[in-house]
Symmetry: C2
Subunit: 408 residues, 2 copies
């Protein structure tokens, strides 16, 4: 079993424009119960982490969502979450680093694990097993990521390529100067140590591929989906960050030093806007992988980032929400499988060819549709071809300019 | 110029299920302003007929719509319409025959013209010219129909084939016994008389063809669209009907005889349910055409029966309604031609690829759609592939059986 304390970190940001108008600026994706589970994605994330630790999770979110996040986190099993409010969005690295700096100050040897607030994971026991392995691997001084075994040539996810043992050892042996607790400092062969805990070296992170490359990745067998989960000792993460972007590590450590004091808000608001706006993938994962200091724990659970309506439809079709009128009683007698009168469910009603999301108690009739999503909300109606998520993002980006900014 | 008085007759019935949920049992198609003209289809029909006559038009409608019809007919130019309420729907022949019987009683030599309450006609002057020719032709003793010059191989309309002069003369010479005022009684060659007024003999009426036959009809040049317009002397129409379906002619003449008396309602309610339920096409037009006693007046105006959402979309795209937000200002900057945020107009907003109908003041966002109609009403939302009108009819027919009867 892992020995170091474990603190889950949940950066809860992101506009979720590809799920607009379900997801809005004021009600982002992580606050929504997209799958009819009775809990928001954030609440599902917290519940999934509760069996792993007795430490309070840290949620880092926008100041405008701090109240809603605090409210949703209340009443769940486990220690009450701590909510850090970002004065402005700076992407994931500053958020995770600030949480790491707080943890480092309180428990220097603790391991943190960063988990997206708005992903779905199918097998929670497999998740706990994989994170437990990642914690043991992190105690060896690695930045650790979970690599989800791909089940199809998805083009909407990033990929992680596993390295060979030899590459890894070479990389670990060349540890960057100034990173006292890096894997290279573990003594002996990094690859052997990784083998012992059930982890693998990472060769590189790959951005979302096109279809051809995705097929190659799937066939190769050495690529995993990047689920955006990172596990590391708080001090390792910050020392590595100090080597890559010194001002960022220095900044979050200064904010953490003021935490709990009267100066905190002043320090936060002064330093935060100066922090580099960057994702953890670019700030740490990619450069450290090139240096052989990132480890991968294979994860065999179903996972989805529900990045767009096509993904959500796939998810809902696989496991229709309870109370989904369309899924429960498609009115197939009327005129064949794709002609239905659907009662509107709280979350979504699923037919074989179209997906309906509605907050209204009003029937919806669908005739002759394929691969379409319909979002029926109080103030706007969206009808979307599922394969046009990119165009939806552009439409949402253009709302302000067309006098529809209040709909964002 | 025609000499006989002219009385327009407007049978205003028909469920319009292929335009549900715009068209409902309680608010059928003819009461709706589908094209954003500011007037309902019925009102447009009345206005179109006003220049033709100083006689009051007769509207025959269901008892449940008599009040709405009367209200819509008020305040228009011309004599105030007379509204006859049918106790139950019996299709078009009893409705037209009852109006004919009323006219026959009041002005035996008058000509009536029957016009659908819910069609669109583009060029009103051409319409007036064609009807004027039809009136002159009807004074010769013919049942006269307007034949609209086809502009495409439509499969949603019936067709009329023109006969040759020789056929027509032969037919007219063989006039059915008992039809004292039939064309055969006109003296001399029917074809010559038709030529003189600018009409043609009709060889036959053809039901909606498939695509191949429609192409052949268009290429042949001797086929017209059947716009459902029939013009005849009231007495001719009833005498011809008496030869085909004696009980029907006898029934409507008995009802007309009671009109204006205290017995009228009792007589109507006793006789009406016994009348044969049949369309004028089957009752008169087809058998009389076979006998050479139907004449056709070529009509060169744009015409549409707006039978389904595909037809309505075609119409709106050709002439977008004033105040249609989508048509006026497609938000093409956002993400290309088929991605738009449309303000909902009273009637419909049109994009290049989808048509939106809404009664709500709520924006509608469309992404990546082609050939789709969206109807956003207070109590039901329809999203329809335009080419699936038949499936829509089946869906509407099934509403009662699925507990959604209140939506019809």
């Amino acid at each position: 079993m892992p020995e170091a304390p474990f603190v889950p970190v949940i950066p809860a940001g992101g506009a979720g424009t590809r799920l607009w108008p379900l997801s809005r600026r004021a009600h982002p994706k992580f606050l929504l119960d997209l799958t009819g589970s009775g809990r928001s994605l954030l609440q599902q994330t917290l519940a999934r982490l509760a069996p792993l630790t007795d430490r309070a999770p840290i949620i880092v979110t926008g100041v405008e969502h701090a109240e809603a996040v605090t409210s949703q986190a209340e009443g769940l099993v486990g220690p009450r979450a701590r909510v850090l409010a970002e004065p402005s969005p700076r992407d994931s690295m500053p958020a995770i680093a600030l949480a790491a700096a707080l943890v480092e100050r309180e428990e220097p040897e603790a391991v943190i694990g960063s988990f997206a607030a708005d992903h779905l994971i199918g097998d929670e026991e497999a998740f706990v097993r994989a994170v437990t392995t990642a914690r043991r691997t992190a105690e060896l001084g690695y930045l650790v990521t979970l690599g989800v075994t791909p089940t199809r040539p998805a083009t909407g996810f990033g990929y992680i390529e596993q390295g060979t043992g030899a590459q890894s050892t070479a990389g670990a042996a060349g540890g960057a100067p100034g990173t006292a607790t890096a894997a290279a400092g573990d003594g002996g062969s990094g690859a052997t140590a990784l083998d012992a805990v059930g982890a693998r070296p990472v060769a590189r992170f790959v951005e979302k591929p096109d279809r051809d490359r995705a097929e190659q990745f799937l066939a190769a067998g050495t690529f995993s989906w990047n689920a955006g989960i990172f596990v590391a000792r708080a001090r390792v993460l910050l020392d590595e960050l100090a080597a890559q972007i010194p001002s960022l590590a220095r900044g979050v450590r200064a904010i953490a030093a003021a935490h709990g004091t009267a100066r905190y808000q002043e320090v936060l608001e002064r330093i935060w806007p100066q922090l580099t706006r960057i994702a953890i993938d670019h700030a740490l994962a990619e450069p450290l992988a090139a240096a052989g200091r990132v480890a991968l724990v294979p994860a065999d659970f179903a996972w989805d980032d529900i990045g767009d309506f096509a993904a959500l439809a796939r998810q809902l079709r696989a496991s229709p929400p309870v109370g989904s009128a369309g899924a429960a009683e498609p009115n197939g007698d009327v005129a064949g499988g794709d002609v239905q009168v659907l009662g509107t469910a709280d979350v979504g009603a699923v037919s074989s060819t179209a997906t309906v999301y509605g907050s209204r108690d009003r029937p919806i009739a669908l005739v002759g549709l394929e691969g379409i999503s319909i979002v029926d909300t109080e103030d706007v109606l969206l009808v979307l071809a599922d394969d046009r998520a990119q165009d939806l993002s552009r439409l949402v980006a253009g709302l302000d300019g067309t006098g529809h900014g209040h709909l964002r």
